[in-house]
Symmetry: C2
């Protein structure tokens, strides 16, 4: 069964349509659709993405019969346009362009004016009446084809043009004559021969196939691979190739070319918005000599400008009709390209217009109000990840960024400031009103003050769950972590990137915590604003979703912020961060150094009122909502210093012998702390710790209950892998809680559950659920242990995995549904098999990742929990998950992954990507 | 439905039987059985193990109705014996003894002579006619009851006896008169009152229940818990209580008591073997004043001895008839206890006799030949773990050991020698013919020479898979690893245990690599010998099993040893150990320090001929058998030094800058190396490493193939968690292999498979099996990652887990069938679902653990692989697994876990455990 591989469009008829974008690519599908809609589109055909895949599978050979199919489609194009490809008297010229399922602007190759040679050139001269235009077109073709298809560096051609100008004493291209271009075209062909040893092909068929091959090849050039990696585009999608009749916007003053958006892509305002250039082809603009003009009077910022509306009122009217038709047809804001050739308007492209988050929300909400789309569609129109932009400062998209390194996007937002290398220095300079970026190899509890004082934090080591990352997210502060490219020298107060770049204390750097980029210099940031449309959309999302959204919060402040963002409880309150604070860490260390249980109990007694105070604060902020509190989790050595000097100092402070302290630090040292004495294992060795924590929680709850505050504590035992661990610890919790309630004379409800974060916990979930009242999936650890790699150490090889196409995505950012997800499914199934009303949630980093949230919805969890600033993202993602579940969900296909280039649209207009 | 809780036996009738040992305990079940067989057993009854479990579940209260049931059974006993409990004229006296499902000698409490008080004493005097005997019996009762039930220290009583002797100027107990014992009995009762504030109970009923309670309580005393922990006896089994009529071997010269085995427990020889004492009760022997006499003439080692055969020929004849009847009935060698009271023989116990491994094999083989048991039963009779004794030197069981510390039993065997703290010193002293034990905090590749020179290796840190453990097992050398009790001071050349014990260089210590014990001083070792019976049993096992047994071997020497033990191929050949050798490590380091691929390839080219040589040697030893070779697995930093001095030195040797070296060491440092850049991740980052290894394997295979040696290489990619990793690496393997075969002009067969050792590998096994031709379960890592704890770090908390009854067993020693086993089952099922003929094996440490081997059989693996010295164990375990699978398998219930006390039988005879 031979599959159809080539799809024709032209003259109001098309074999493809918009829904076939997987097969035809976005561009090809929409050219077909526009053609069918009766919109003027130059005729052409699309070679499918499957051909690309086959091409790579078959050692870069085309499938049998392809040439014949192309031949047949080309004949239809010739008929539609009334010209013949390679005909010396009336030649058809074509462009060859890539077109993947999703736009990859400027990533792949394009060749224009194909079909020109010494003979067809004569036909072009005859038909256009302009020798200069024809020779210019010819040299453009040789230059582009020579570069793209034959690999001759563009400088070789530019150099010849420069020489010619020098020789003639002129400065601009337009000052060169037909004769000059003719001469240059010849010289270009000689240059190709010189560089490649091959003659420039004159045969139109050879030209066509050379260009098609170049487009397929460009799917795998490094920049395209990199782009796919960054945007999670699978390799096997492949690209389609669009072969289309050339139309020219540069044949004279009755010509023009332009780009427009059907609504404002920056604000979302409903107005036709765009730019054009008379007598030009897109690539001319790159030279930057001529300034594009606004498309309509409303867009003029200077009365001297001439809009298309004024310059060609009829064409503008036609364009207006078309853009409205397109937006209505697609029920989506469109980004269109057009060319006017001798007063005839041709549409070259329409596609979903990229937009800022603000615009996305406004457009979705307004289109719903206009009746263009349903509420459900509106919800599906906004990529949840885009909301990040609205909640944190962002960089001004119009400013050029000099990226010098890239780390993990550990805590979103944008920050700019002077580099400092110590917490003290950060606090000192911040005290003088300076903005600083704290740069550390890794951070420790001692750095908290400096972190609070800084605009952002940059670390050389550590992952998304490192101290720096976790604390920064809690503070809502921008952080780039684990930036291995840095080479920090504390002594010299500088860091180095490669050998060239040296950044000293006081130099400005900027951090993008959403991308992990580290930039040199000061970059202007834009503060976030939340519109009324945002509130509307969130309300719609809340009405739609089934999944609850909680937050990870360790302090009353975080709890309050999260509740403001719509959190419906706390899914993870880590108690250890409470112990890192300056006044807590001393009794904590006393506990660790105690020789016996009574010694530990004495130290814990000092911590009890502090913990209780924390819980009172958090419970109050979350009154009426559930609060899941995880008992002490990290290995004890995290609370002790490690350098000799710090140990000496602490020994003095604590009045113990340095030897004893050193010995204890040494005895707690572990080869693999991630797999060491942590989590419930601590509770089993030192039951007094969890007993104290139980007491603090229940005392706090009782006190508030007496004051009529509704408290719903959920006590969570971490790292349980065997029901016996849980049973052992639960017994103590129940006992202490009963004692406290008796003492306090009041009863409070509470539940005891566990995190499922070691694979064995998932595998034996049926047994654990016999005892545990809820599960919370700790997907950070579950991912680490399922894959067997630690987040902190996997950076270097995960890079290789991405570049070698072994992984499509970082499993720490988006939940691995195949493996880790399967463990979750097993646990859900087994857990509910022994306890029907088992409450299920997720509290790993994935709780704020839209795809992972949708997964959580699908497998039937009750809630997700994420950092406060990701709560709105999770709410929207949960709603989308619910909508996508329904088979009748409309428009879901059109939801697009959060592209990174939104906001860069201005620069792109008429730019290189649009040649 | 009230369950029966008390089982009577006496007068030829019994309510229980041998098969009810779970309910009645071993002792109770066999007393019932003997009674039913018509063997003279003093009447009594057994309170079931279920009562013990209920007792603990109900807060140490007895179940309702128990007292009545006991009362009814006691009445039957009274009837059977013609005496009445508490009757002043003809009193019945009873003993109360524990009796668990399996014997726990001396671990729990026993009380004798219960029912005595001032009144019943008179009856006893009247019935026996001996005041001295009666008062002695009374004071023994007060002393034992006072100590066991009422908690008075035994010294309090012994002190009074000493005082009495001093006062009378005598030395021996027998020199004390009836009057003396009478007086002492009174003083004992006063002492009880003084110590406890309570009167000594005179009421026989109170006495009985006091003793029963004490036995139940003794189930949970620390020494019993510890014993269970060491012998894997679950806590919930509980103990039964046996209440039995007292008979006395010390009423005069027509009395005696003794113990015997139906065959020689040391050698297995078929001869009646035992000892007795005339006019004595078991406990007298403990005083060590009288030497037991041999039971028969054949046992006499001195003509002055008087055997029972000579002393009481009729009784001996009766005993002979009984022992033969018992052995035939049980078809098993029996350990029997008897008492002769006034020329009447009473049997007090029969049970399966403990024996050495040598004896176990001989008895099994001979009983089969005698037609007593079948071949299948013979196979099931020998606990596989006992074979360890036969393959390694062991300690002389007759010598007292002073155990000062306990570490992990990392490599079996026994070793004794002078302590040294450095490899150099080990080699130096060994060069002078001294036996040394190398003691290190942890070992590294630099220590290899010293390890080879030492008798045994002792480390403070590191687990069963640490460098020391792995290398020692490969060498077949004894090793105790991760002995955290040690405090090693290299500078002072000493180690300390607690504060008291200091061991200096040159002091003797002894190591038991099978138990992990560290002993002070020189302990004599016994060299292993393999009997013909061993060969016979192994042959039977091989005929029976389905599972293949391979070995883990990295050198031709190990391969040869293992093949001698019956290995059917290599299941794991680790290639990294080849790189640690002195001449290899330099090019290895060169490779690690290289800046680019060509640099690494240059260094790898130097390693190629060496690896190839290794493989030629191994393939030759394993000619005709499969050899699974695992590609480089450990993180690269393991090949680099870490201390500043070592780095300086290496930098000099390698002629690189110390800074560069330090930087590389630093950049390779990982937080959690177990979850770091290792396994196939190395191969993905540096494909040239695996390409070199492929070349070495295939070149070696081709060369041997040309010489007509049959080679079956199986190339194994480690740590695969995603099929994409496997696919990426397999492509290279296939390509290089094809190239090599073309160069060599010969074709060799090989397969490419993977280890399943990360949970995700198991979960996605269906996908991986699409590419992989075999799986080998790496259960060390799989256990680590499923539980989320590292073997090297879990020592401290696993101790707590065992002592707090959270774990019954160390999952690193015996496969956790519930969790890790479930992952294996999932992988087997999924793997075979996409590749029917997928070959499945296991190569973790569990491959040599009998229970785990049986599990592997059950889930349908093709083979297990273990260290050379465990191959016979695995062969036997595999056969047992196959037999147990069949529902008709006979005798399987009787197979007993390898008790640790075998060989200590001599000391135990008539000893405290048998009172």
């Amino acid at each position: 069964m031979a599959r159809k591989r080539v799809y024709f469009f032209g003259n109001g008829k098309a074999e493809g349509r918009s829904a076939m974008r997987n097969l035809l690519g976005g561009k090809g599908a929409d050219l077909a659709e526009m053609t069918s809609m009766g919109i003027p589109v130059p005729a052409g055909f699309t070679i499918t993405t499957e051909v690309c895949t086959e091409y790579y599978e078959n050692n870069r050979k085309y499938s049998k019969g392809l040439k014949e199919e192309v031949q047949r489609s080309l004949a239809k194009v010739e008929k539609a346009m009334g010209r013949k490809y390679g005909d010396p008297s009336n030649p058809l010229l074509v462009s060859v362009r890539s077109g993947a399922r999703v736009s990859m602007p400027g990533m792949m190759d394009t060749v224009l004016n194909i079909g020109l040679n010494e003979r067809t050139l004569q036909g072009l001269i005859k038909n256009t009446g302009s020798e200069r235009f024809a020779y210019d077109a010819y040299r453009r073709f040789v230059q582009m084809y020579g570069n793209v298809v034959m690999g001759v560096p563009d400088e070789a051609f530019e150099h010849l043009i420069e020489e010619k100008k020098r020789q003639k004493g002129v400065k601009l291209d337009i000052e060169l004559t037909a004769e000059d271009w003719k001469e240059l075209a010849l010289k270009f062909k000689e240059a190709v021969k010189r560089h490649t040893g091959k003659d420039f092909p004159d045969d139109p068929e050879e030209q066509l196939w050379g260009a098609v091959g170049a487009v397929f090849e460009s799917w795998n050039v490094p920049r395209a691979k990199k782009y796919r990696e960054l945007n999670n585009i699978p390799e096997h999608w492949g690209t389609a190739v669009n072969v289309q009749t050339m139309v020219f916007g540069n044949m004279g003053d009755d010509c023009a070319t332009g780009v427009a958006f059907t609504r404002d892509p920056a604000t979302g305002e409903k107005r036709f918005y765009g730019e054009y250039l008379p007598n030009a082809q897109g690539e001319d603009v790159v030279a930057g000599i001529r300034t594009p003009q606004p498309i309509n009077k409303a867009g003029k910022t200077d009365p001297k400008m001439q809009s298309l509306e004024e310059f060609m009122p009829n064409i503008y009217k036609e364009l207006t009709t078309i853009y409205k038709k397109l937006e209505k047809h697609y029920t989506e804001m469109q980004d269109i390209e057009f060319t006017i050739e001798r007063n005839k308007l041709w549409m070259l492209q329409t596609r979903r217009g990229k937009r800022t988050a603000t615009a996305a929300i406004r457009i979705a909400v307004e289109m719903k109000k206009e009746g263009l789309i349903t509420k459900e569609e509106a919800i599906l129109r906004v990529p949840p990840s885009h909301l990040d932009q609205l909640l944190h400062p962002t960089f001004d998209p119009n400013v050029n960024k000099k990226v010098i390194a890239r780390g993990l996007p550990a805590s979103p937002g944008a920050a700019t400031g002077k580099v400092v290398f110590s917490a003290e220095r950060a606090e000192e300079l911040a005290g003088h009103g300076e903005k600083v970026i704290l740069v550390r190899i890794e951070t420790s509890p001692e750095d908290i003050g400096g972190m609070a004082a800084a605009q952002g934090i940059l670390t050389q080591r550590g992952g998304m769950t490192s101290h720096a990352a976790v604390v920064a997210r809690g503070m809502g502060k921008c952080c780039v972590a684990g930036c291995g490219d840095l080479n920090i020298d504390y002594a010299q107060r500088k860091f180095q990137v490669d050998t060239q770049i040296v950044v000293k204390e006081g130099d400005y750097v900027s951090l993008d915590g959403s991308t992990g980029e580290v930039m040199l210099g000061e970059v202007k940031t834009v503060e976030p604003t939340l519109s009324g449309d945002f509130g509307t959309l969130m309300r719609w999302a809340d009405q739609t979703r089934r999944l609850k959204v909680r937050t990870n919060a360790d302090t009353p402040h975080d709890a309050k912020v999260a509740r403001g963002f719509g959190a419906e409880g706390i899914g993870l309150c880590r108690t250890e961060h409470m112990f890192f604070e300056a006044d807590r860490i001393m009794p904590m260390r006393e506990m660790i150094l105690a020789d016996d249980t009574p010694g530990r109990e004495r130290a814990l007694a000092k911590l009890l009122p502090m913990q209780k105070g924390d819980f009172i604060g958090i419970f109050r902020e979350m009154a009426g909502l559930p609060v899941t509190i995880r008992f002490l989790d990290p290995p004890l050595h995290e609370f002790l210093p490690h350098s000799a000097a710090q140990i000496e100092e602490l020994a003095r402070d604590m009045n113990v012998s340095p030897d004893k302290l050193r010995e204890r630090v040494e005895s707690l040292r572990e080869f693999n702390p991630m797999l060491g004495h942590r989590g419930c294992r601590l509770g089993i060795t030192y039951p007094e710790i969890y007993r104290m924590q139980t007491r603090a929680i229940i005392e706090a709850a009782c006190e508030l209950a007496k004051r009529k505050v509704k408290v719903l504590p959920e006590i969570m035992l971490p790292l349980v892998g065997d029901v016996a661990e849980f049973r052992f610890l639960k017994k103590d919790v129940i006992e202490v809680a009963r004692d406290v309630m008796k003492e306090q004379g009041v009863r409070v409800k509470f539940t005891v559950g566990t995190m499922i974060e070691v694979p064995r916990g998932a595998i034996t979930a049926d047994k654990i659920a016999e005892e545990a009242e809820f599960f919370s999936f700790g997907t950070n650890d579950l991912t680490q242990m399922a894959y067997g790699f630690s987040r902190d150490d996997s950076g270097p090889f995960l890079k290789d995995y991405m570049s070698k196409n072994i992984f499509d995505r970082d499993p720490f950012q988006t939940l691995d549904q195949t493996g880790v997800g399967e463990l979750i499914k097993i646990a859900v199934e087994k857990g509910r098999s022994s306890r029907k009303d088992l409450k299920l949630g997720i509290c790993g980093e994935h709780g704020g990742d839209p795809d992972s949230v949708e997964f959580c919805h699908r497998v039937g969890l009750n809630y997700v929990s994420c950092s406060p600033f990701r709560v709105p993202i999770a709410r929207l993602a949960a709603a989308q998950g619910a909508l996508k579940e329904k088979p009748e969900a409309k428009g879901s296909r059109r939801t697009v992954k959060g592209g990174k280039n939104v906001g860069a649209h201005r620069k792109k207009i008429l730019g290189k990507g649009k040649k």
